[in-house]
């Protein structure tokens, strides 16, 4: 356990907790600026099993925020290139790779096999699917998103917190995208760090933040926003705590 000695030295993480983290399986959907760093943090923290899913290839414009990848990975599968780096970071972490999109055909099986799901996607359509499947399979998931100098995160725990559809009831047709308005490369690490901290707390069975974390790094504004569960939510409205 020498590898994790600085982690288990924390008051918050015991050696038993570290063993618990090692026994967990995390699904990371999307391996861009968020998912790439998220997967690295989880492997370094000693999560036993990671499942990576992304269909994209590494492009030059990705490298300013894909911290584990470099020029030799250009043109290669993001999921496979990330997995190669992770295996060099921590051989004890088992890595599964899926070179495909998260979709209705594979989603339920992948979520069902995971203890925690982490969102590294770049679109709301996939996030609404993650939400629907996670509520159905009773699996917690950690939403994260960023654009420009703004980032946000929320930890969704079925039966305990609102779901994404409670928070965003109508699917927006158009939201600002990184391709259009850009992304400051210091923003995804803040979101990823928040997501991973929440995921580790979930794995350890600790209480997670029940508010929306929203920040603008450029303006030095950090907010926690109360989000309420909607009783008439079409996705989680009938789900109640056991």
């Amino acid at each position: 356990m020498d590898r994790y000695i600085r982690q288990t030295a924390l008051n918050q993480v015991s050696e038993e907790d570290q063993e618990t983290i090692r026994s967990k399986k995390v699904l990371i959907i999307g391996l861009g600026g968020l998912g790439g760093l998220t997967s690295s943090l989880l492997a370094r923290a000693g999560v036993g099993h990671l499942t990576l899913i992304d269909t994209d290839k590494v492009e030059l414009s990705n490298l300013h925020r894909l911290f584990e990848l470099n020029e030799e990975d250009l043109g290669k599968s993001k999921a496979e290139a990330t997995a190669r780096k992770l295996r060099k970071i921590n051989q004890e972490t088992k890595i599964d790779v899926h070179n495909e999109n998260f979709n209705v055909d594979n989603g339920e099986r992948l979520v069902q096999e995971a203890d925690v799901v982490i969102d590294g996607t770049d679109n709301l359509l996939t996030r609404f699917l993650i939400n629907k499947v996670s509520v159905k399979r009773n699996t917690p998931w950690v939403y994260g998103a960023c654009v420009g100098t703004v980032g946000t995160s929320f930890t969704f725990v079925p039966k305990k917190t609102p779901c994404l559809s409670c928070m965003i009831p109508k699917k927006p047709i158009c939201t600002p995208e990184c391709e259009e308005v850009g992304i400051m490369n210091t923003v995804p690490p803040v979101v990823s760090s928040h997501q991973v901290t929440q995921a580790i707390k979930l794995m350890m069975g600790k209480e997670t933040l029940k508010k929306l974390f929203y920040f603008d790094l450029w303006k030095n504004k950090f907010q926690l926003v109360t989000v309420n569960k909607k009783e008439d939510c079409p996705i989680c409205g009938n789900e109640t705590e056991d």
């Binding site: 968020l34 960023c146 047709i173 929306l212 926003v225």
Partner: protein
């Protein structure tokens, strides 16, 4: 009534007759579907009633990653 509005690039107090969040967003030319409406620190739906002195913080839904 007077409502304090916080927009991503602006902060102001507006005089309005809008009774609901949705009506005020329309007055301001803001699409309610692609924005989060945070009324006095709490995320609300567009049909939430407004009252004198409320503080409405409007943020864009973030979808990038």
């Amino acid at each position: 009534m007077k409502i304090k509005i916080k927009l991503p690039e602006d902060e102001k107090e507006v005089e309005t007759n809008a009774s609901k969040v949705n009506d005020l967003l329309k007055e301001l030319g803001i699409n309610p579907v692609s924005h989060l409406a945070i009324l006095n620190g709490e995320l609300v739906t567009e049909d939430e009633e407004l009252k004198e002195g409320d503080e409405l913080d409007i943020k864009e839904v973030v979808s990038g990653g």
